[in-house]
């Protein structure tokens, strides 16, 4: 009972933290996504067609929404943890009786909320550029939630591992950014040369975006069940690592 109340407080605190600076944590990524849409959509609208009967702008929107969900879920847990570590206020949490499960549920839960709020914001501002379709909406919800959860847990790992802001920036720039950009946000992976097509199939982000897009158009590069399997497995593996690090007090309780 007590642990539940504790986890709920930490979740609330984590949501309040990003909500208090929503201009930076929600409005800014929505604006960024809109810029991508304006520029790429405008330039490529009449040049690229990925799916039959789907304009490039329409194709791009779900990718941008999912990219925003993933990047912001990661940013939430990772930046909260690294800030608390660097400024030292993580001690308030470390002296509390919260279990490793409470930490995990609260940090990942708040990351999912931030990811979905930003994703919804991107969807709302981009939907005016092309009429949306919702062929199989269950996939939209499943992949958005699972993807946000996995990136929230990955952010937790990065936040625990990094000691300094520049290490966190390296994690973001050399792992998260390439994986999102090489996941098929802006294109279908089938338009890639064979090597990069193969490489894309090793990237779990590809399955998140492909499965998410399936929900809008009813077509995808691979089966949504395969995507669900890959993304689900990735979520379980990353979560297990994050929980293990929290339980053993990795870099938290030397």
């Amino acid at each position: 009972m007590i642990r539940l109340a504790g986890a709920r407080t930490l979740f609330y605190k984590e949501v309040l933290r990003f909500w208090k600076v929503a201009f930076q944590t929600v409005a800014a990524p929505v604006l960024t996504a809109m810029m991508y849409l304006l520029i790429f959509g405008h330039v490529l609208q009449d040049r690229v067609q990925v799916f039959e009967g789907v304009g490039y702008t329409s194709f791009l929107i779900p990718g941008l929404v999912m990219m925003s969900v993933l990047q912001n879920s990661f940013a939430n847990s990772s930046s909260s943890l690294i800030q608390s570590k660097v400024t030292g206020n993580l001690v308030f949490l470390l002296v509390s009786p919260l279990s490793h499960w409470a930490w995990f549920v609260a940090y990942v839960g708040a990351s999912v909320v931030r990811g979905l709020v930003v994703g919804f914001g991107v969807f709302i501002v981009t939907v005016w550029f092309a009429p949306p379709a919702f062929a199989q909406p269950v996939w939209i919800i499943v992949f958005a939630a699972l993807g946000a959860g996995m990136l929230g847990a990955l952010g937790l790992i990065a936040g625990l591992w990094a000691d300094k802001f520049d290490q966190m920036a390296a994690f973001q720039n050399f792992i998260i950014m390439p994986m999102t950009f090489l996941s098929g946000v802006f294109y279908s992976v089938h338009s890639l040369p064979p090597f990069w097509l193969q490489a894309s199939h090793l990237n779990p982000f590809f399955y998140m975006i492909d499965g998410f897009r399936r929900g809008f158009f009813g077509t995808s590069d691979v089966s949504p069940w395969l995507s669900l399997g890959v993304v689900g497995t990735a979520f379980v593996v990353v979560s297990a690592i994050a929980l293990h690090l929290l339980k053993t007090g990795y870099k938290l309780r030397p």
Binding site: T9, L10, K13, G88, N89, F92, P97, R253
Partner: protein, 309 residues
């Protein structure tokens, strides 16, 4: 059952430059309701010991319990029994004072705690800052919030790690009045401080750490009486005679010399006169905790009889 029990606590840090023994088999108990002072020079291991107590660091060996709960195996119960005021002036810049206190209370599973939070704010002179953001507070105000955060779940054991470092006189007095009240109401208090007059005034019992070892443990009064009971204090601008200088404690112009009895005082004054040292503001007084501290820290080996007592 002791409120806090340290049993053969060891902590070794291994790094690129070799290993460092921060704590070397420290054992002592703090009884419920006690006001206990933990003293030692910088690097003696005080903060490491408190970090192990709080679960912020793991011991390399030994065992620590709080109200009977092992800090490693039964960590949730142990942490609920503890309120820690950390040494560093840390704060979460996103929240107001009241939000910070409500959040901290929630971590401990205590909801709807506003009556106690209001009392804490009033006792610590924070009522008019309740809705101010943490960033807007002065250092002293932030320190008060740290104290309030540590007490928000009404822990039976309160740990204050150098709570008055860099704090003005007013806050020191407010803080000690409040902590003394909590102590009278039955809370156990563990204090580390560099201000030895504070420790002498407040603590029932004192432990001293030196290089990771407990070198003294006794009631404050007993420590004071076991030491050389008379101190000769005076001011001078001149150098002391070579035979006398090694025994003296010199702070700027002020010289303090230990004396066994009146005859010893006379002998020392005669020696000074003979050496032609001109002295002013002569005082003869009882040794204080600072004198005891310096004496114990100077002696190489642990003061065996002090530890045994």
């Amino acid at each position: 059952m002791p409120a806090v029990s340290f049993q053969q606590v060891e902590k070794t840090y291994s790094g690129a430059r070799g290993t460092f023994r921060a704590l070397d088999g420290v054992s002592f108990d703090i009884e419920p309701g006690e006001f206990f002072g933990l003293l030692g020079p910088n690097g003696a291991g005080k903060t490491t010991l408190i970090s192990i107590l709080a679960g912020l660091t793991r011991p390399t060996g030994g065992r620590v319990t709080v109200m009977g709960h092992d800090v490693q195996r039964d960590e949730a119960a142990a942490r609920k029994s503890l309120g820690i005021v950390p040494q560093e002036l840390v704060f979460d810049p996103f929240f107001s004072v009241r939000e910070a206190l409500r959040i901290q209370s929630g971590y401990f599973g205590v909801r709807n705690n506003d009556a106690w939070i209001d009392e804490l704010l009033a006792e610590l002179g924070l009522t008019d800052k309740a809705d101010a953001n943490m960033r807007q507070l002065s250092g002293g105000m932030k320190r008060r919030v740290l104290v309030a955060q540590a007490l928000v779940h009404r822990p039976p054991v309160i740990v204050l790690d150098e709570p008055t470092a860099g704090v003005d006189v007013e806050l020191r007095q407010t803080l000690w009045a409040f902590i003394a009240r909590l102590n009278r109401e039955g809370h156990t208090v563990l204090l580390t401080t560099h201000y030895l007059e504070e420790a002498e005034a407040l603590c029932h019992r004192i432990g001293m750490l030196r290089k990771g070892q407990l070198v003294a443990l006794d009631r404050t009064a007993a420590l004071l009486s076991a030491s050389a009971s008379t101190m000769l204090r005076f001011k001078t601008d001149q150098a002391l005679p070579p035979a006398m200088a090694p025994q003296a404690r010199i702070t700027g112009r002020i010289v303090q010399l230990k004396a066994r009895d009146a005859a010893d005082v006379e002998g020392q004054l005669a020696a000074l006169r003979e050496a032609g040292v001109k002295i002013e503001d002569l005082e003869i007084g009882r040794a204080d905790l600072e004198d005891v501290f310096v004496e114990i820290m100077r002696s190489g080996a642990p003061a065996a009889q002090a530890v045994a007592a």
